[in-house]
């Protein structure tokens, strides 16, 4: 049913349609509206057969669903940012135990300085945890990916993190098609756990494993992700058969046919990128296209390589910084391109919610096409502010906290107050 609805509320309704049996939740912005929505649905008995457990921390939230999933209940939680980091130990544990938990991550920056706005630092911090990580481009996809996620998680017995850009998607009202219960039931069978705590057939889950088997266990986690590379497109195709629209899959192409330049990105920024591509194609006849990576873990090396093998220049736009190296997505794309000797430029953009404007992107794309950039390039970085702080650091050993210094310098007319962006 088409609805004009907030992204978070739509995700909550989608989760409810998946008939979760246990939800453990702890609030953190910008995830809050999702779990508030679910709490309301459970209280109002619109979501029956579900226990909503209000826990005392994110660590307990994921721990709770580890317990409920191990006991054979379809289980869900959601978090953001610091919350994901606080549950980090349990994140690795859930995948190590092979529990098909689904978690929404309302993507948000990690402090200090504390910042509630969107970037992808949080999911990148957990990229090696053994969870499948899929990124929603739109709120429609956010809804669809959650339904796909339960199917994928339970077929593989592996946890899935659905990454939804905080505020940009979670708090945006859009026209979204919410599937019917019958549609979801036809697509998503009831949860049948592969291992479960059962008094009739007692098993020990979570035993200690020494050097004699640990590497094999880790290899099998990797193998599971490699299987997911095949399962994700297959389940995506099945989703299209059931719901009549494409969602999920490994990567999405936009105007890549005959494109000489292709932009690669994750999540909602693809919307802006598509607009820029449309403008550049119509106004300047530049053969440019884009690829949105939906499945970041497993990373679709082969699919991406195939899609990029004939292009002249690859551009990565990403909302995450691997401090001391550069972009976090960038090395993954380079790995897909290994041996192809293609120029690749990466822009680190939108950190801590800095707007990624069409103008900035267009300028960046053009500079990249001319090969004029160092990589990584920090999009819209205010070098005057950076240099002033560096200078202060050189002059005095006690310059005070960086963020506070910068804010004092910027004053009311900061870089976001300028009129140069469109």
């Amino acid at each position: 049913m088409l609805k004009q609805i907030e992204g978070s509320q739509a995700v909550a309704e989608a989760i409810a349609l998946c008939r979760p049996q246990v939800i453990c939740a702890y609030p953190i912005t910008p995830q809050t509206h999702i779990v508030e929505g679910l709490a309301a649905l459970v209280k109002a008995k619109q979501l029956q057969g579900c226990e909503f457990v209000n826990v005392e921390s994110e660590f307990a939230a994921l721990s709770g669903v580890i317990g409920s999933s191990a006991a054979g209940a379809r289980s869900y939680t959601a978090t953001s940012s610091q919350g994901l980091l606080f549950m980090a130990e349990a994140v690795y544990n859930a995948s190590g135990l092979g529990l098909p938990i689904v978690m929404t991550l309302g993507n948000r920056a990690i402090g200090a300085p504390i910042n509630i706005w969107n970037d992808h630092s949080d999911s990148m911090a957990m990229r090696d945890s053994g969870w499948i990580q899929i990124f929603a481009e739109t709120n429609q996809e956010a809804v669809d990916l959650h339904i796909l996620a339960f199917r994928l998680a339970e077929e593989l017995s592996c946890p899935v993190m659905v990454c939804v850009d905080g505020f940009i998607l979670t708090h945006a009202y859009e026209r979204i098609d919410i599937p019917t219960q019958e549609q979801v039931d036809a697509f998503l069978p009831p949860y049948e756990p592969v291992q479960v705590l059962d008094t009739k057939e007692p098993v020990s889950i979570g035993a200690m494993v020494g050097p004699d088997a640990f590497a094999e266990v880790r290899y099998l986690a990797h193998h599971k992700q490699m299987r997911a590379l095949e399962l994700i497109p297959a389940i995506g195709a099945d989703f299209e058969r059931h719901f009549g629209r494409k969602s999920g899959g490994l990567i999405h192409h936009y105007r890549t046919e005959g494109a000489e330049v292709v932009v690669v990105a994750l999540g909602s920024v693809n919307g802006t990128i598509k607009d820029v591509i449309d403008d550049m194609r119509t106004e300047e006849n530049i053969p440019i296209g884009s690829i949105s990576i939906c499945s970041f873990r497993p990373f679709p090396l082969a699919a991406l390589r195939e899609s990029l093998k004939d292009v002249k220049c690859v551009i990565v736009v990403e909302k995450s910084l691997d401090v001391g190296l550069g972009g976090a997505v960038d090395p993954n794309v380079r790995m897909a391109l290994r041996g192809l000797a293609k120029p690749l430029f990466t822009a680190i953009a939108g950190l801590g919610g800095r707007p990624i404007t069409k103008n900035s992107l267009r300028n960046f794309f053009k500079q990249a096409m001319k090969g004029e950039l160092d990589t990584p390039h920090f999009l819209d970085l205010d070098w005057a502010v950076v240099n002033r702080e560096l200078e202060r650091g050189r002059k005095t050993r006690r310059s005070g906290p960086i963020a506070e210094n910068i804010l004092r310098d910027i004053g009311p007319g900061g870089p976001l107050a300028g009129g140069e962006s469109s």
Binding site: Q21, V53, G67, S68, P202
Partner: protein, 338 residues
């Protein structure tokens, strides 16, 4: 002492002369180890140290919980000695559905298991969670408080050996004052652990107003079983704190585990009591209080208090004061000793 042959054959799980001698006793008078009703949730062959108080306490506690739940029990375990010595992959000593997740989350995992059972309408299967004092009083404390606050239907059992034994005897918040641990060495002006009372988790549990809190000891297994059995008859969050001496960490003789545990009770340092909804309802009285020296002197972790050239009477007295305070608070010497 006769006619044992006419009884049904007894399954022997535990080796040792004590149980073998039970064959000579009629069924009624047999020790509980050889009872036909024993569940034996935790089988022999695990890798606990000689004289491990935790292995003893866990075996009796879990077996009692099994009996109380009619064998319908799921156990959640925190990381620690109990988890490590019972599940060296690919072996396991647990004959019941058992899950270990992390060090600090056993109460939360148990809450999740309980929620799953609730949502499935499974009223038969019950949940226990268990951990050592580190997993309970320190790293898992937040999750434990959350579980209490929600009154989740879980019995949490803390096996208190008063330090981080699994990692090599480092101080925990349950380590008593003056005790030597690997991180509170017996050197300097204040040898051993600093003076303080540590966290009294049973009383903190009581402050949550949960239906049942008890302390128990491997020195009194009948009492331990009674308390576990009673706790399993109650729904909601329940907490049992069990004193389990660690020969390795305490520097006591393996054969003295029960003796040391008994001394802790009888000197007043470890009062045995029950509490319901935050109020003490039953106290195990001490017949003859023993001086704390008799407890301390059995353990090398307090050896620095008893140096021949310079016994530390000041600290011994301070520990005696703690025991006396307990005796007063819980009226341990009061009449009608039970």
């Amino acid at each position: 002492m006769t006619d044992a042959s006419s009884d049904q054959p007894v399954k022997f799980y535990q080796k040792g002369t004590y149980t073998v001698s039970n064959r000579l006793v009629d069924a009624r008078n047999r020790l509980v180890q050889s009872s036909m009703d024993r569940n034996n949730s935790l089988t022999c062959g695990h890798r606990a140290c000689q004289g491990c108080g935790e292995a003893l306490g866990a075996r009796y506690a879990v077996d009692a919980a099994m009996r109380a739940s009619n064998n319908q029990l799921i156990a959640v375990n925190a990381t620690g000695c109990l988890e490590v010595f019972t599940t060296p992959y690919p072996e396991t000593s647990w004959q019941i559905p058992w899950v270990h997740s992390l060090f600090g989350n056993a109460p939360a995992v148990a809450s999740g298991v309980a929620a799953a059972l609730r949502v499935k309408g499974d009223k038969r299967v019950r949940v226990i969670a268990q951990g050592g004092d580190g997993g309970t009083t320190d790293i898992g404390f937040g999750c434990l408080s959350g579980m209490f606050e929600r009154n989740d239907d879980v019995l949490y059992i803390c096996y208190d050996n008063q330090a981080y034994m699994n990692t090599g005897v480092q101080r925990s918040s349950a380590t008593p004052p003056a005790a030597r641990t690997a991180t509170t060495p017996a050197v300097g002006d204040e040898p051993g652990n600093v003076f303080g009372t540590g966290k009294n988790v049973p009383r903190i549990a009581m402050a949550h107003g949960i239906p049942y809190v008890a302390t128990a000891s491997v020195a009194n297994l009948k009492d331990l079983e009674y308390k576990v059995f009673k706790a399993m008859g109650i729904h909601g969050a329940r907490y049992i704190h069990i004193s389990v001496p660690c020969p390795l960490g305490w520097g006591s003789a393996p054969q003295d585990t029960v003796r040391v545990a008994r001394m802790a009770v009888e000197c007043g340092l470890y009062p045995l009591y029950e509490a319901e909804f935050g109020e003490v309802t039953n106290v195990h009285k001490i017949r003859r209080p023993v001086p704390v020296q008799e407890y301390l002197i059995l353990q090398k972790r307090f050896a620095h208090l008893f140096r021949k050239d310079k016994p530390d009477t000041k600290r011994i007295k301070a520990i005696q004061d703690m025991a006396d305070a307990n005796i007063k608070r819980f009226n341990l010497l009061g009449e009608a000793a039970s």
